[in-house]
């Protein structure tokens, strides 16, 4: 068991900089998820922790030891790949036992550990099959099995579920969460599916273009994003952004609706107002927003209303009302301004004072 610490880590492919001086501490036993848009450097970062990619600068520590130049096998890590990376010519048993055989473990030990892993992952009947004879979910379980037999200090997952269909993804997600509970080992998990990030993580690291945008628990990132980028990235459906102005402690939207707010800002400015879909509810600080309804999606208990201010792109509103709502009709929606977040047009968070 071990924590992971990156300090001043950089990575360049040739002259192309992918990771820019990154510092990060991952606690022992935690489940950390790297999220971010495609190409932001999540896999590269994970592979540098694994030792599959050399760092261009900085230091990587696992369990306090400097492993910057160590071989992957010497780091006490195990990795699960997006495309499973099972050895196609070996049976499931041989695949799972492979790392142990490489360590020179005794035949007996290998057998015992393989059957233990197979039990945890319910692979019992499949042990004599080849990977080609398995379903996607089974293959990924074998890959996980191969990683747990070694008792690694750190598990690394690079989008392990993205090749699976939606239903399987959910159940495998639950299995991975259970695995983390059982083993209690440090896990680092890369995904661009923010639902996976929210449900699995103790801590989420949001990456953007090779830099850390914010680190925090899922709730922190959701309720208190540090930037427009994080606010827009975390949460599904996405946060709504309305353009407005801030003059003399008053926020005014394009349609003239305005309310009082004390922001950390001098004088007047163009701002963006961020409102989550579930914050269109009446409350003590509510204002009323006249919108024209575009489309209504019924999800059973709730419904999503897509409605727009004139000339603006539609907002997503989570609504629990049961009344009939016609598309094309105009309505007033309440907006709880106490929950609204404010950003500069460049994406910086503007904190409310007091």
């Amino acid at each position: 068991m071990a924590g992971v610490e990156l300090s001043g880590v950089t990575k360049a492919f040739g002259g192309f900089h992918v990771i820019h001086g990154l510092d990060l501490k991952i606690d022992d036993g935690s489940f950390t998820v790297f999220v971010g848009p495609s190409g932001c450097g999540k896999s590269t970062l994970l592979r540098m922790v694994a030792g599959l990619e050399d760092v261009s600068g900085g230091v990587v520590r696992i369990g306090g030891t400097d492993v910057t130049d160590a071989d992957p096998v010497a780091r006490g890590i195990a990795m699960v790949f997006q495309n499973y990376a099972l050895y196609p010519h070996m049976t499931v048993r041989q695949n799972i036992g492979f790392p142990l055989r490489m360590q020179g473990a005794a035949k007996k030990t290998v057998e015992q550990r393989v059957s233990e892993a197979a039990e945890i992952l319910q692979l019992g009947e499949l042990l004599e099959r080849k990977p080609a004879q398995l379903s996607g979910g089974q293959r990924q379980r074998v890959a996980i099995g191969r990683s747990i037999v070694r008792n690694p200090d750190v598990f690394l997952f690079d989008e392990p579920l993205s090749n699976l269909d939606a239903e399987l993804r959910v159940s495998m997600r639950v299995e991975i969460a259970k695995l983390h509970k059982t083993l209690g080992t440090t896990m680092i998990y890369v995904t661009h599916d923010q639902t996976e990030a929210m449900t699995l993580a103790d801590k989420i690291v949001v990456l953007r273009a090779g830099r850390i945008e914010q680190v925090g628990t899922p709730v922190e990132l959701y309720t208190n994003p540090a930037s427009l980028f994080v606010a827009g990235f975390i949460g599904s459906p996405r946060m709504n952004f309305l353009s407005g102005t801030y003059v003399d402690s008053f926020v005014t939207l394009v349609n003239g609706v305005s309310w009082h707010a004390e922001l950390d800002i001098d004088g007047s400015a163009e701002i963006l107002v961020g409102v989550r879909p579930e914050h269109f509810v009446p409350g003590p600080a509510s204002v009323s927003l006249p919108l024209s309804v575009d489309i209504v999606e019924y999800l059973g208990g709730t419904r999503y209303v897509y409605a727009a201010l004139p000339g603006e792109s539609p907002l997503t509103i989570e609504d629990r009302g049961a009344d009939d709502m016609q598309s094309g009709s105009s309505r007033e929606f309440p907006l709880d301004t106490s929950k609204a977040l404010y950003f500069t047009p460049e994406g910086k968070r503007l904190y409310a004072l007091g």
């Binding site: 001043g8 950089t10 002259g15 900089h17 001086g21 050399d54 760092v55 261009s56 600068g57 900085g58 230091v59 130049d69 071989d71």
Partner: protein
């Protein structure tokens, strides 16, 4: 470039670091590749060094380095020799004839095979025409000799059918090139067609559908879809052939040679063999060889430049 943040970074760029890292990580691979590298050094690069004897009067006792320098003597004696132009002409003509004659036939075979819907027939033709590729040169040449023999061969019978006296193809110098080229075409057409078959198989099927919708006949389809689809492959093969034009193989020409056809069948490689190994004139033979190798290199590099222009792809 970016200034390092911890002084360590610069150390991680540059070839020294990569070399050290690569050695740490892959020392097993360096050990693995060592024997093949020794092989290439000894059997491919050492001969290039030895080729220096083209500029020396080599004798066994003094060895490569001890033998006296001779400058361009061997080259000028070769250029001044009467056989020089004959060798160049023979080599070039034979090769050019072969490249041109052997170019269209595999294409025709592939196009025709592509039209056949009877799988069994198609496979039989492919299997049979491909087979001679696997027959050795010695056997091909002796088959040629036997079949063309006026006394016992098959060709004698054919001439007999028309009541004409059989021609002795191997006894006359004029026929040498035809025999050489056409026996080669007999041997390799099926093999070469495979490459074109692959090119045909990779043509976008929607082009065929479009042709069908337009009501094109099969001939029109061949002209407008198949042949354009084959063009890139065909051009590369033709260009490669031109690049190798001064590099006619020794094996077959040597076997087909006899005193009667020598005036056309003596080519550079056979002459090198005779000068070097039979007459033991190492330096002269090496000079001739070197001259030929230089021409080949220039041709290949030139041809590659053309290929890059035409196809956008380098041959190596």
């Amino acid at each position: 470039m970016a200034v390092s943040e911890n002084g360590d970074e610069i150390d991680r760029r540059g070839w020294r670091y990569r070399a050290r890292r690569s050695w740490q990580r892959h020392w097993q691979l360096y050990l693995l590749i060592l024997p093949p590298l020794v092989y290439f050094a000894i059997f491919k690069y050492l001969p290039m060094v030895n080729a220096i004897i083209a500029f020396k009067d080599y004798n066994v006792v003094a060895g490569v380095w001890g033998s006296p320098w001779a400058g361009w003597k061997h080259f000028s004696s070769f250029f001044g020799n009467l056989v020089f132009w004959q060798l160049i002409r023979n080599t070039f003509t034979l090769s050019a004839y072969y490249v041109l004659a052997s170019f269209p036939i595999p294409i025709i075979l592939a196009l025709a095979l592509n039209e056949v819907r009877l799988r069994a027939f198609k496979q039989t033709v492919q299997l049979v025409t491909y087979a001679p590729y696997f027959i050795s040169t010695v056997v091909i040449v002796s088959m040629t000799i036997l079949i063309l023999s006026p006394r016992i061969g098959l060709v004698g019978d054919v001439f007999g059918l028309f009541g004409v006296p059989a021609v002795d193809f191997l006894g006359r110098a004029d026929y040498f090139r035809h025999v050489y080229v056409w026996s080669d075409i007999w041997q390799t057409t099926g093999y070469s067609a495979v490459i074109y078959m692959a090119a045909l198989a990779s043509i976008d099927p929607s082009l065929y559908e479009a042709a069908k919708v337009d009501g094109a006949s099969r001939i029109q389809k061949i002209i407008h879809v198949d042949i354009p689809g084959l063009m890139p492959t065909a051009i590369i093969i033709l260009i490669l052939g031109v690049g190798n034009i001064m590099q006619v193989g020794f094996e077959k020409a040597f076997l087909l040679q006899n005193p009667l056809n020598l005036s056309q069948s003596e080519i550079i490689s056979t002459y090198v063999y005779k000068t070097g190994l039979l007459n033991a004139n190492f330096s002269l033979a090496t000079a001739i060889n070197l001259f030929n190798a230089m021409i080949n290199l220039v041709l290949l590099v030139g041809v590659n430049a053309v290929a890059k222009r035409v196809t956008g792809r380098s041959l190596w």
